[in-house]
């Protein structure tokens, strides 16, 4: 089985990090292929960049040859997940949706920690649209520096994550945390050592879900919201 891990932004380093996480999560025999949305913005930190990313994702993914058995959208956002589901005939898994869906099996209420306070309302909309409000204890944020700037020390990031996890637990009863951004995924292992709650890393969740769908022969419904659109795909 061949799963395409599609990074909605144009930053190859993030694609690579995601592919590494994905490869560590799949079953033997599953091939993971990375794909970078070269036409997209380098980082998705606004609704505007969400749309810029989403607009080029579909045609980019339709052009991938050979076509993969499933596609994982490796970003914690929307950027036209529905558009990709409409247009592709293979299972399409949003890593945000997969992480929230898996979390419902493991906890009472999950918290999401995202990469910047600016994206909290955006992420709340994501939760609302997916219908997970009753299970979400809230969206919190650390503050990663912009992509071009020097990377912060891992210890500082993990400490900030630990603090947000603690507050989500105390104030809102969160008993699980989802890392809400591919840039946070590399800190998952360290964070797990520091907190008692399960830490859900979405890339791994999503490739697992994608593998499962391929094995089960399931994909997004073509009978409603994700029915193939009337116009040509290469619009």
């Amino acid at each position: 089985m061949r799963i395409l891990v599609a990074n909605p932004n144009s930053t190859g380093a993030i694609t690579e990090a995601c592919v590494t996480l994905a490869r560590a999560a799949v079953a033997a025999g599953t091939e993971v292929v990375g794909w970078t949305n070269r036409e997209g913005p380098p980082v998705i930190d606004s609704v505007h960049t969400d749309y810029l990313a989403g607009a080029t994702l579909v045609s980019g993914l339709l052009a991938v040859r050979p076509a993969p058995d499933a596609v994982v959208l490796a970003g914690f956002g929307n950027y036209g997940t529905g558009a990709v589901k409409e247009r592709l005939e293979v299972p399409v898994v949003s890593m945000a949706e997969a992480a929230m869906a898996l979390a419902t099996l493991l906890c009472h209420r999950f918290a999401i920690v995202t990469t910047t306070p600016r994206m909290v309302p955006y992420t709340e909309d994501l939760v609302r649209l997916a219908g997970f409000e009753a299970r979400c204890a809230g969206v919190r944020a650390v503050s990663l520096p912009p992509l071009g700037e020097p990377r912060p020390e891992a210890r500082a990031v993990v400490e900030a994550l630990v603090e947000e996890v603690a507050r989500a637990g105390t104030e809102r009863g969160a008993d699980l945390v989802i890392l809400g951004g591919a840039r946070l995924s590399p800190y998952a292992a360290d964070l797990r050592r520091a907190v008692r709650v399960p830490v859900v890393e979405p890339v791994a969740c999503a490739v697992q879900a994608a593998e499962g769908l391929v094995r089960l022969g399931l994909r997004q419904s073509a009978a409603g919201k994700f029915a193939p659109p009337p116009g040509p795909p290469t619009l």
Copy 2:
């Protein structure tokens, strides 16, 4: 005051129809200017075309000179409304949001009738995201033919609308209807003669709301979800 009526798709005839409706609704002294998203798709009938439209809207609107005092997004959808609100410094009014907001003042529960059954789930998501679920009696659809095909007889469209309005009333207690698509707006007058419930035509609503915001000196909040994004606007 100068209000830009921005058609998110590339079909000039729809822009013109919207401008006509807008001009009939504004106060004396308000200038209405049409704008067509020439880079966008000819019609928005899927999430994919929603994203294609949204991706080019922002840069297109930023380039308009002279800058208008307010922008009305003249389509009953999302296509990156949030992105436009982030990037523009003038009030940005989505006609879908304006129609639903106005409807809450006038009824117990509104129904929305959209242009094709395919867009019902898409429109339900719009309602959910805007938080109007408690006031929405449901989304229904007539079936307009694709843009290129011959226009249906007005009488047939109005009859179909009347039937959907009747069913929304009987089955779900709707006591107001919103026309959920710029292509339905021209039938508003005929529909009003045929039904007892108020018929909300969103283009007119939206320009009124835009005028109001300009007079009140209000625009979308820059303190949260619609704060200016970190990257450059012309991305």
Copy 3:
């Protein structure tokens, strides 16, 4: 066009303040007329006074000659808004409903600040009944002294408002504030200078909405909740 700004309580000074705000907000050519509910209580600070106000509003407003083109209920409450909508044949706009409806176009989640802690649950019910819970970050209160007592210093009121706005932002993510009481409206300009979030002053919103409805030829639906009641209007 002639808009009646109806103060549901009997305090003429509040009517005057509302009329001033209204006149500053309407388009050229719109006449604003004040009306005071002389039979009502001097202030509405309980459910009891809400009912006393509402009971006399309808017959009082029906008697206004010449009949206005629209009525604005200039108080941040209920006091039988539905009764007025049932009985009058012109558009009736509650300033609380208008402010919340407009706020949905401008923010992620609005906060309401009311004039006394006692009215917080009352105002929460207003939000719930209008169906704006998903968009409301909470109701907070400053503590204005009773009407008869000396007016507090403007600076103290504004400081208290600023503090509530800050807390609503930090704790609940509010990115817009609605002034929840006609007595707070005069502080809108000062508050705007002190906070980053948009400040919605409901009287101005409501007259704008009323003007818009008159221009659009719309009024509350007579097909359901606001259908004319069976009995005589002058009950």
Copy 4:
């Protein structure tokens, strides 16, 4: 113990019918006293009459001597229930609230049948405001003639009720029905013989609840929404 059964409208015959139902429901030793809101409207069939009724209820009830141990508001509506709770120092029980609260103990989802289609949205608001939406399968209506007209045959009313109960069960899974209006209460016994679902008659519920509160020494909270208002009670 002495319980006042307060009819919010001015029609003595309805008071008497309610008192009869109440007396059949109380424990030995509980005295039931009827009270008619002589200043109110003869029937409450609109928001307007709701407000007219509510405005005179408080002062009327405050004047009752000797003061009862509890008050039951014997109408299926609002008419200022909160105002009465604010002003009276004895337990105040709305028969609508009592019926819904009791129903939650007995079923999966209750239906309410009210006396006229016009009051369906009004009653839906009542359900929403009390927070029982998750347990309510919907509000339906039969069509009783206006008060002054000849009373319909009991058999016809019961048949209409049976039909509404059946539809609420089939379409929405209702497994209990609440009679939503004092005028329907006399048909409870006949309806019980005709349907399998429990039939909740609200007057009886409410006097039971009132008795219970008196015995438990409980009344509405004075610490929030129902705190005594600042102004004088006899406003």
Copy 5:
């Protein structure tokens, strides 16, 4: 009338305490009989013990002779309340459900205080399942020691309760508190002296509700969720 107060756990001392509370609450002429679930666990402090308790409740209660007129489940939890309602032909009242239902008549939003932080999510599920989320300001906990250990000083427990009540009021607007556990019931009287909000003690509520149902001739609906199961009762 004879009401069985059924303690779902096997600790006789708790049964006795409940019976005492129940006897103080019933009308003259109502007999209260205690019953202990001897086959159940000594305390219900987990979902596991909830299920152990519930599994033996039904057969135990079916064997009670003479059959009571109503059964009160005297624990603040679930342990198969629905199973008992399915199998018994007399009214079955859960004390948790009865307390929440009664609270809705008396307040804006109630808080529940339970006996250990571990049971907060469990109790939140109880609130959600019963549909009282809109009226619940939150579940809080004190920390009672395990059953076998020495009882804490009453003063310390009451102080802890007072603190939780205060925080629920300040942070979430709670204006009534429900004691969420039979072990907390004995502190009701002391707590009432220390706080302004009504304190609902669920055992008393539940026996009152049970008496009321017997008098009204009502019991749980057999037309849906609580229909008699197909298999034999003594399974």
Copy 6:
């Protein structure tokens, strides 16, 4: 990896059918072991049998040697899922929860079809408790005969399923269906040939989810609702 497929009822034939479905779904190298709750009831068709099943599940599963790497609860219900999650240190996956979680990735709104009308409210509670209400288009039922009776013809069952799927689509917009009961799982393949919407068979979903959790090193959170209970596990 070794996954235990635990049938909560005592009917070995159902265990076998589930094991067959599970084996067809797992990755190479995953061992599937069946386990039957011999102490439980033969079928779970009520809350009572749910509790009887749940009460013996925990101790039964704790005794399994060698301990599996994950446990799948192979019934579409509750029967103490939370109790098993509390007590076991390996991932525990409810097939109902897994099916709903997976469905959220694939559709706009899913319908569940259960095995008997009697279990519709029970299943609705399951949906509500898991927080999937916003994504569930409703629970419907076919009518399988009791276990002991002759099995119905496959064609008749599939036809009944097809009809329910069609109605869920037309009336409520469902674009995916979940088979809500292990007894329906064998009809999945036939149903897929007959309908356009994806058919989710929960056993396969659940084993996939269990495999995924083992690979990811995740299990239910021990930091809140599913923390190990204070008492001994073999209670």
